[in-house]
Symmetry: C2
Subunit: 203 residues, 2 copies
């Protein structure tokens, strides 16, 4: 990676960090993008060159591209299998390399701003829609099934994520919560795959 791209990543990170700090201190609506740009030592147009909208300064990375995972799965792998593998890997690897403090700040900022809550909801809806489109290609001609699968999958993933954040916010250590996360992922996908009937039930 050349010097150029390193500087870009650095600038991007600096902008996001400054924004998150200001939002956390004074509230999302009370902070202007001009302030953020100035505090980050960059022009407003440059900020918008990195982040397409104000809310993206906070919601960056919230949206997983489930549709791409489904579309890019190896031959012979089911959509659900590919998604399970993705989140399994994420849970196993993720614990080491995330900044708990900034993650908590993001959760704080988002959950205390109706505008950001709305943005997150919108992202989930569009993610669900795109996933449904990708699933339609896997099972053509069965639109309602695709939509129902997309709705269930995004609901399950969202629930697992929220449970993880709640554990972190409740003071659980990252290792603990990460361990449970792996189990939660398996449970969620087991339920998706085999249905809500408990194991002892007859079909």
């Amino acid at each position: 990676m050349g010097l150029r791209e390193r500087k870009k990543e650095q600038t991007r990170r600096r902008i996001a960090e400054v924004a998150l700090r200001l939002f956390d201190e004074r509230g999302y609506d009370a902070v202007t993008v001009n302030e953020i740009a100035e505090a980050a030592g960059v022009a407003k147009v440059t900020l918008f060159n990195y982040f397409p909208a104000k809310d993206c300064l906070v919601t960056e990375g919230v949206k997983d591209d489930l549709a791409a995972i489904v579309a890019g799965r190896l031959e012979g792998v089911s959509p659900l299998g590919a998604l399970r593998e993705h989140y399994r890997a994420l849970a196993a690897q993720g614990a080491g390399e995330m900044d708990v403090e900034s993650l908590l700040a993001r959760v704080r900022v988002i959950s205390s701003s109706p505008a950001l809550m709305g943005a997150v909801h919108g992202m989930r809806m569009s993610e669900r829609y795109e996933l449904a489109q990708a699933l339609k290609e896997a099972h053509p001609g069965d639109d309602l099934t695709a939509q129902l699968m997309a709705a269930q999958i995004t609901a399950a993933v969202t629930t697992v994520q929220e449970a993880f954040f709640q554990r972190i916010a409740a003071g659980e250590s990252l290792d603990e919560a990460g361990g449970r996360l792996a189990g939660d992922v398996e449970l969620a996908f087991d339920l998706l795959e085999h249905g809500l009937t408990s194991k002892g039930d007859k079909s």
Copy 2:
């Protein structure tokens, strides 16, 4: 009612009608509030004097004030009973006095604009929150119950409304759909009141 207030209502209605027509023709985002104001023969500031935001031109009246109904119920009436009575009356009376065409246009415009969908979702969330607050005063000290009741009630009401709109959009006559609406309201509140167990079940 004096001439003054009559003209006000007339102006308000004209603005909303013009806006709805333009949105329906060209899409919500492609129509500017300046255009609407000009087409309605009014200044922009006057438009915002009638409607506090662009989306309110369409979402006006979407939000029921459930909290007020609960707070203003007669002595001896349960919150749920008051709500049931409200929607029962609405279903019985409502059929006669609404404009189907404009109602359909509103549904079209809203459901084809992510911004408006988000606005509606936000309204539902705040309505639910306010209802939960009102319920807390009815059953003090039981916050989670209040929140769960509010969530269930708003979900049920929303579902009944959406089913009604779908019937209308599917071509059912207003009288037909209105008749079913009355039944749906009773069903929804029966389920809320007595739970999801079917009538033959033992407790």
